[in-house]
């Protein structure tokens, strides 16, 4: 514990540097805007701004990009409460009771409860991350190629199991992502794969054009401007402070949401979305007045908002400690670290302590900044919401083009982005979730390398994956997950994932 505190002190010495503070603030501000604005989610925001971090060192880059991620969880609640539009998918559940509170003239109180809940959950999440990540990283040092292969398979299966679109669809998307990840020169043999004499494809397909296309442009194509409302229920800022009863009603939901969110965050999948949904269900279940839900229940705002923030922090545990992205956002953040020459994983704590601990310490500071940003500046964000979408989306397309082009100064990348935008639009029409595709693309090189190394190590013996205890345990969990999925398919049971799909579809916006 003492060693952890010493390391955290090192982290704070990095996080309190004026330049790091500036980029943390910038990330939080942009994240809040990304969360507030309908039509652009955290993944698109991070992907678009990723190339802008190339001139920065790894610490500043990851601090800023992570700030966008957890900042968007704060900002998403503003549109949910004031407009009944989730600025970010994880805020879908906040729409229900947040907007009902706003209609009753309690918009200010709902915004404060959402911001304080997000702050408490975010901070609790970072404390848990501080305690949990280093021991997991230490344990993961025992991992060899077979364990990594099993872990990546487990990650994909978890994602598929947690997905609201169903196992075959999710795995189909993951397979497509893995296939896209195979494009380019094979690093072990030098063979060109699927490059069709286009020299730019020799290095493979980058994550930025794919993520920006699928989530940025794809979202714009699915959102015609005439369907985006600019109607805002104006908050009574004079009533920003919740009453004593409202505070009392929010304490336990915030605590429960924080713990639940963190635990779900560690598991692969769209954790922040699932966490807010499950937290809402939990609060309704434990409530003595469940009939109040949907009519402005304070717990219906406090629980889900806390859970989605805590989950976004929990998602950093497998990314930092194992080098395993649990969703598309952590996949892009991982790609950002790799671009800066800092591979995430068990060696990160020892090899780059300044990045690891600086990043964690910056999240404590970032959560404070977000609390300070979100409440006093809510009026500014409401003004931003009034920008007509017809003027907003052309700007987003401009940022997409600049962002993608600046990665490699390659126009081929911009064309890939455009193709991916069209693909993203079509995938949404056919109810496919593009997130597993991005995840597959990111893990493809690591997966292929560890799979081939395992086979070479064992002289072609597949049993290497079941003879080693850690790999064996991971594969047993994989089999259990497949069994559970098959069971729900056979029984055609309508479980929480079906309800989540319905809730996500019901919002009509489908943000990433």
């Amino acid at each position: 514990m003492e060693a952890t505190l010493d390391s955290l002190a090192l982290g704070f010495s990095v996080a309190f540097r004026p330049d790091v503070l500036f980029y943390a603030f910038l990330g939080c501000l942009v994240g809040t805007l990304v969360g507030v604005l309908p039509g652009i989610g955290p993944l698109a925001g991070i992907s678009i701004l990723l190339p802008m971090t190339f001139g920065l060192d790894a610490t500043k880059a990851i601090v800023m990009l992570a700030g966008i991620y957890y900042g968007s969880q704060y900002g998403g609640s503003t549109t949910s409460i004031l407009m009944r539009i989730p600025g970010e998918a994880a805020s879908v559940m906040t729409c229900i009771d947040g907007y009902a509170m706003a209609k009753r003239g309690r918009a200010g109180a709902a915004l404060t409860i959402a911001a304080v809940g997000s702050f408490v959950a975010g901070t609790m999440g970072v404390i848990l991350l501080t305690v949990v990540a280093p021991p997991i990283a230490k344990f993961a040092l025992a991992f060899g190629p077979p364990e990594y292969t099993a872990l990546l398979v487990l990650g994909l299966l978890f994602l598929a199991y947690m997905s609201s679109t169903g196992l075959p669809r999710t795995l189909l998307m993951a397979a497509l992502g893995l296939l896209l990840g195979c494009i380019g020169i094979d690093v072990m043999t030098g063979h060109f794969r699927y490059s069709f004499d286009i020299k730019e494809l020799g290095d493979g397909i980058g994550i930025v054009p794919v993520a920006v296309g699928l989530f940025g442009l794809g979202e714009i194509l699915s959102t015609p401007s005439n369907r985006v409302t600019e109607k805002v229920v104006p908050p009574r800022l004079a009533e920003l402070l919740p009453t004593r009863t409202e505070w009392r009603q929010s304490v336990l939901p915030i605590a429960r949401g924080s713990v639940l969110g963190f635990l779900i965050g560690i598991v692969p999948g769209s954790a922040h979305i699932i966490a807010s949904f499950l937290s809402y269900a939990l609060e309704k279940w434990v409530s003595k007045t469940p009939e109040e839900f949907g009519k402005g229940a304070v717990a219906g705002v406090a629980g889900p908002e806390s859970a989605n923030n805590s989950a976004s922090t929990g998602a950093f545990v497998p990314m930092l400690a194992l080098g395993l992205p649990t969703g598309p956002v952590t996949a892009v953040l991982m790609a950002a670290l790799l671009i800066h020459g800092v591979p995430p994983g068990p060696m990160l704590v020892n090899e780059h302590p300044q990045v690891f601990w600086g990043f964690i310490a910056s999240m404590y500071v970032g959560n404070l900044m977000l609390l300070a940003l979100n409440l006093p500046l809510v009026g500014v964000f409401v003004t931003v919401l009034r920008i007509p979408y017809a003027y907003l989306y052309p700007l987003i397309i401009m940022f997409c083009i600049i962002g993608v082009y600046e990665v490699n100064h390659s126009i081929v990348d911009v064309w890939i982005m455009l193709i991916m935008g069209v693909l993203g639009y079509l995938l949404r029409k056919f109810d496919f979730d593009p997130a597993p595709l991005v995840l597959g693309l990111v893990i493809a090189p690591i997966f292929e390398l560890s799979l081939r190394q395992s086979l070479i190590m064992s002289n072609g013996n597949w049993l290497i994956f079941v003879e080693r205890p850690i790999a064996q345990a991971l594969l047993v969990v994989c089999v259990l997950l497949l069994g559970l999925s098959a069971l729900s398919l056979v029984l055609k049971r309508r479980d929480w994932r079906a309800k989540l799909a319905q809730a996500e579809a019901g919002d009509g916006t489908g943000r990433d």
Binding site: L172, Y194, P394, E406
Partner: protein, 147 residues
């Protein structure tokens, strides 16, 4: 038999898988002890085909294809066409001209905003972006006509 959404999705994925598998014949699979460049792609394509078949088998439970809402398609096609033109002209015309045209056409033609509003918006936003990215952040934006 009514054509359903997953009939179309499954068939497209199945065909894509078969086509890519056919394009992978020149990649060496290798052996288990010495896996070649074609091993992972082949395994992944076979899985993709298998999942597409699963999708087709369960397609009866999916909504009819006619129920898919395509009312936003016209808008999407216009946006894609204008963006494609901007990408095509991005290098030859340069950042300022291509992006200003992109913004103007999207706001004036696609969104039918007033001419002078669209003109001021596209000019102002492009110049601001050029100042921020090209001047402040030193990003090498294509100069095209101004080269």
């Amino acid at each position: 038999m009514q054509l359903r959404r997953d009939h179309v999705a499954g068939t497209v994925m199945l065909l894509a898988g078969v086509l890519v598998l056919a394009a992978s014949t020149d990649l060496p699979f290798g052996t288990l002890a010495s896996p070649g460049a074609g091993m992972l792609p082949t395994v992944v394509i076979v899985l993709m085909i298998a999942f597409a078949v699963l999708l087709l088998l369960a397609a009866g439970a999916s909504p009819p294809i006619a129920a898919t809402d395509w009312t936003d398609a016209t808008h999407a096609v216009r946006v894609v066409a204008v963006t494609a033109a901007a990408v095509a002209f991005y290098i030859p015309l340069g950042f300022i001209a291509s992006i200003a045209l992109l913004l103007f056409v999207l706001t004036f033609v696609v969104e039918r905003k007033p001419f002078f509003n669209a003109l001021a918006y596209s000019g102002g936003a492009t110049l601001l972006a050029y100042l921020v990215f090209g001047t402040l952040l030193n990003a090498p934006l294509p100069r095209g006509l101004w080269h």
